[in-house]
Symmetry: C2
Amino acid sequence: MQDVLFVTYHIRSTAQEIAARAEGVALEQSVELPRPAVRDPHIVENILGRVETIELLDDDLYEVVIRLARTTTGDDPAQWLNMLFGNTSLQSDVLLVDVTMPDAMLPAFAGPQVGSAGLRALVDGYDRPLTCTALKPQGLPSAQLAAFCKTFALAGIDFIKDDHGLADQAYSPFAERAALCQAAVAEANAETGRHVRYVPNLLGGPRAMAEQARICRDLGVAVVMIEPMLVGLPVMHELVADGLGMAVMAHPAFAGALRIAPELLYGKIFRLFGADAVIYPNYGGRFSYSQQTCADLAANLRRPWGPIKDALPVPAGGMQVDRVQEMIDFYGDDTILLIGGSLYMAGDALFERSRTFTENVQKGGDR
Amino acid sequence: MQDVLFVTYHIRSTAQEIAARAEGVALEQSVELPRPAVRDPHIVENILGRVETIELLDDDLYEVVIRLARTTTGDDPAQWLNMLFGNTSLQSDVLLVDVTMPDAMLPAFAGPQVGSAGLRALVDGYDRPLTCTALKPQGLPSAQLAAFCKTFALAGIDFIKDDHGLADQAYSPFAERAALCQAAVAEANAETGRHVRYVPNLLGGPRAMAEQARICRDLGVAVVMIEPMLVGLPVMHELVADGLGMAVMAHPAFAGALRIAPELLYGKIFRLFGADAVIYPNYGGRFSYSQQTCADLAANLRRPWGPIKDALPVPAGGMQVDRVQEMIDFYGDDTILLIGGSLYMAGDALFERSRTFTENVQKGGDR
């Protein structure tokens, strides 16, 4: 079975209709023709998607596994996505849930460049969760964002990322902001001896992103953020495959309700496409994933997977400093805890609250 | 009001909670901070999103208009998308419905390169709907696809596009397929005196797509297909903005249930990002948009919009030859009718059924 993929979908249907509906998805995701129009025996044998199993999950919900030929993906990550869910993503009764493929296919994907071990080495942080915050709000001048950056760095937060809305706006142009923030972190590190990392947000068309990456490399930046659903998953993949040379933290902006299970999208696809760390909406925050979804997603990021390095989960979205212990209990140490807005609520006590955050994580990790 | 955007969302909420929920979206889509953490008066005045209106639509559904500062978009198309729906796309109670912006901002977008007039000129087709079909199934060798291409071209179908699943697979590598199909169309055109156009599918990372575009230009291709949700909307935009020099037919693959109203996504966003023609699931086909949605979407593609050229709707998805008259009655002449699978059902009578398709369109357009 070196040359087939097994793709799992959840389909809402009646018992009467599920067999035909499953067959419809298999056709849609392979030949895009009505079955009677597929006459060539080579196509029927080697290209046509096949329904492998249909299992009743619930009232009107079925789990359907469809077998696709690896050759249809051309071993290209963009076309692989297309085969998994191109047209079927438009059909509201179908959820893309999972995919398994032969290990021999994994080298078609870049995967994380440095993985969890590399991220830990970059910030010299071991045997504890790592920490992260965001520079905000947009609208502040670069110097003010850099001042926040220094405060967070002095407090020992490992990764200080641009807010996902920081792009190349007039009030904090990318090149200026990146230079000032990187310098602010370097100053703080010189004072503390820590290895805090500033994480700029690469955003725009591919050319703009390539130029931003060049600026970052010149500044000695070690980790960048990318919003793959906004800029294009294949864009992130190509940057990594072409030797970006900086670790990638992926952000879920624009991921919407793509009807792809979060465990798959964030847990496997983002990882395959080159993310070393994956930000996603934590349970109980401003967004709406379940605890089980979050646990499965994190497990997918961390599990051994052929030559593909692991990646760290970054649960986020309205997290509070006082939930740190709960999050460590739930996620364990191989996690990056991201707290943004709730630090800023401290106003003039920004440093103190940031310090409490890092100390709580240190304590939690020491248990 | 030169410097603000008005973004319309539909939000599911109770009467008690809608004001807070609307305010939450305004914060999420601008400063990403709790309101009390936003103290800087400049930010409050100039950056903070504001709830403009809240209107009850239905039981628990509200239409909310939020004002965003243009400066937050940096006049960059990718960041503009981010501002409209970056994080809020992750919140299942919110649908992005519409946006209005000052005309002065429109030049930030490439828009269609040739528009409807340019597409008509390319195929020398006037005063009637244009016609389109797809080369399929994948798995066939390039020569067989090129033979189909010639048959369709002889039958006078204006645009013969790659199926959206045709990428750079071993059985029909992009460069070989494009060359053979382009040659087949040229042969047919030499016989008939028509101006049928082959439309290859550009797919992959940005580098692969740039190389495919170069191959197409060298072959004299005039129209290409792009799947912007799969490869990245900003990638399509950059290709067009950088002078692609070939008209673009956009395909909806991977657009999923992004919780963006189809009228907006296909009718405005695809157009702004450079599509001259936009393929979308027609009502009554394999997918599930309403007639009203399809009519509004088509109207959005065609309406005058400052310097942004118009684009042609391409209703598709399981269309049949016998529905041609109905589609012409519904959509009128400024439309490209795309019929794929139902032509292939004719088997050995592929030419005859294709001919019936183009004749029906000619008759319908002649009424």
